[in-house]
Symmetry: C2
Subunit: 394 residues, 2 copies
């Protein structure tokens, strides 16, 4: 057959992550490639109790169509939670949109904001899912380099001073995927000031913020300016399989998002929203959940980083993240980590080459390692295998 | 603030249905405006039992990330069910995509198929949600009139012979929303033959097919040609609040849809898919559910149609549908049913004016009445109120 596809999809990249996940299904493989939360973190007992209560006591509305912007119980929780986080009131109506995971928030924002040729500012390396969501709407990406303190906002400031006018600025300030970096407080303030000065919109994506190992939480960019659409999700702190995330933003932007959401899927699952709202609204529940799961990720991160230091010290450079699920590395003497990946897969270990997270996808020396789903002893074995692969790649 | 929005969204219509649903929330209002399934139809006991079993016995995978195209248990059910419906094999891999309701299927198809200016063929009146999903991608709509036997495929044949080359042809062959029409068997065959002759893609949207009151089921257009993407959903036959639908189509189209789905939201809720797959896979369950709910809709349809005939006989024309949730009417002597709606709301009854379902939205004499959520005695009272409003509008 000879159907033709929309021109805008011609450049849509195959997902390196998806292709790689096929490899990781091989039973002997130790995968540092995925970004799944550890199954031990899921509160199955609490979910079971609340699911039963919903389907027994709440009546048919839990499985009926519901409002485009989300069920009111969940929007109330979000409004209360973020009034504290952002240090300013968040309205239950008009400022919140519940989405089918954070990924949908990115898709909806791209839809309502990005015309072909519009400039989207992104860090490099960048979250692949965001790049995929944006590129369907044919922006021109303006890449700002990052370091261990997040996007180099000075570089952005120079480009803005020289006339750059982006449609949106995409940042992941906490425990960035893939870089693991946390944007410093001065850079957060500077980014907010630039948004105010040039009347720009920041998209602040924060899926990992609750998973902090060390140090005090930093205030979100959205706490310094209202020119932010702030995104988060239950995927990392409760469970991803329900696909429930949210965004908080200026009413005019959220009004357009609401129409796009209605055209996209009418609304997010009523049942999933009520279930998760009831679980997290229980007084003290979220703090207990964090206290239970943060040490899991912290211990795994330490195990991976210690093993890499011990076995690959001279060949590898990385910064230990303050939270999240990812460790970003640079291999000295390996100009293309896709070559390393091929050797690694033969040894029975997988990771994601750094160029999967760049706009241009040119070969580079970087690699992303996720420590989220392997136990510390498995991480040690994974690094043994990786070390053999590094030797074969030098 | 002065953010600018994507040009393509400039024309995005406000949802007449959504604005109207606000009116119907007034407590005294009898609403014939919505299209919600009746809450009595939801199998809450079965859902509760299976939800509990899933969260108790299946382990963490029920709330973990899952495959882009859907969990395998649900794709297996879909493949088996539609091998019978379509009279040809349906592959579990490569031909099925589980979506966040049928609405998302329309959004994904528009994304991968429609460039600005491409021709989309639609019936008139048309399902508003499809128009909203398509128009975001700036097609040119080519409207083919419908009658009580569905789209007038002869008219389409003439336009194709004259050179029209649509990117897709959108039809709702069973109990159309809003027209209530069922496409006749000869027209289904003719549409399939045209798709084969001109190498065109038909999008066959079938949310209501299982709710048939009278006569034998007709084979889907997809049973006569493979040049069809067939859409259906659990929203009307189980419950809409989980947002689980699916599409079945040619592998090349579905490959592109898979990439768009990944960019849109990664995948549909793992939990919701497993829950619904387990409920409907129980031998005999779906037939029992249909036997329980079809009479509810049949009796309501009869009650509404009888009352309209008895009270408004000379002022109203309509065909009784063979199934579904909607009755489509024409008011003689009322050139603009938005005027009638204003009077009806004053009397305490709501419906949707016909022009909400047209591409051009010009005033017309049509109206859509949904009988799905009111009991027969409420429908009789609604028609009393409507009759007073009609008198005031003539």
């Amino acid at each position: 057959m000879s159907y033709t596809f929309a021109n805008r999809t011609k450049g849509l990249r195959s997902s390196a992550i998806r292709d790689l996940l096929k490899l990781t299904e091989m039973s002997h493989m130790l995968s540092l490639a995925g970004g799944l939360p550890t199954p031990d973190s899921f509160p199955l007992t609490d979910l079971r109790r609340e699911a039963d209560r919903l389907l027994c006591e709440y009546g048919p509305r839990v499985v009926q169509y519901s409002a485009t912007d989300g069920v009111v119980e969940l929007r109330q929780w979000i409004a209360e939670h973020y009034a504290l986080e952002l240090g300013r009131p968040v309205a239950v109506d008009g400022q919140i949109m519940v989405t089918h995971g954070s990924q949908q928030a990115l898709d909806l924002l791209a839809k309502v904001l990005v015309d072909p040729g519009d400039v989207v500012v992104s860090e490099s390396p960048a979250y692949l899912g965001a790049v995929q969501a944006f590129e369907l709407f044919e922006p021109r990406f303006e890449v700002i380099p990052g370091d261990e303190h997040g996007m180099q906002v000075d570089v952005l400031a120079d480009k803005l001073a020289a006339g750059l006018r982006p449609k949106l600025i995409y940042v992941v300030p906490n425990f960035h995927n893939p870089s693991g970096a946390t944007m410093s407080l001065p850079r957060r303030r500077q980014l907010a000031a630039l948004a105010d000065k040039y009347d720009l919109l920041v998209v602040e994506d924060d899926p990992y913020g609750a998973i902090r190992f060390h140090g005090d939480p930093l205030p979100p960019v959205a706490s310094f300016t209202e020119r932010v659409v702030y995104l988060s999700t239950f995927s990392k702190i409760v469970a991803p399989g329900f696909r429930v995330g949210w965004m908080i933003g200026p009413p005019e932007v959220m009004g357009w998002v609401a129409r796009a959401k209605q055209a996209a899927d009418l609304h997010t699952s009523s049942f999933a929203q009520l279930l998760l709202a009831n679980v997290v609204s229980k007084p003290g529940w979220l703090d207990e959940q964090k206290a239970r799961i943060v040490p899991m990720y912290r211990d795994r991160c330490t195990a991976l980083a210690d093993a890499l230091d011990a076995e690959l010290g001279e060949h590898i450079t990385f910064h230990r993240p303050d939270g999240g699920m990812f460790l970003w590395t640079r291999f000295d003497g390996i100009p293309d980590t896709t070559v390393l990946l091929r050797n690694a897969v033969e040894e029975g270990v997988a990771f994601v080459p750094g160029n999967a997270f760049t706009i241009d996808q040119l070969p580079d020396s970087n690699a992303r390692f996720s420590y989220s789903t392997l136990a510390p002893e498995q991480l040690a074995e994974a690094v043994h295998r990786l070390t053999r692969a590094v030797r074969a790649s030098l």
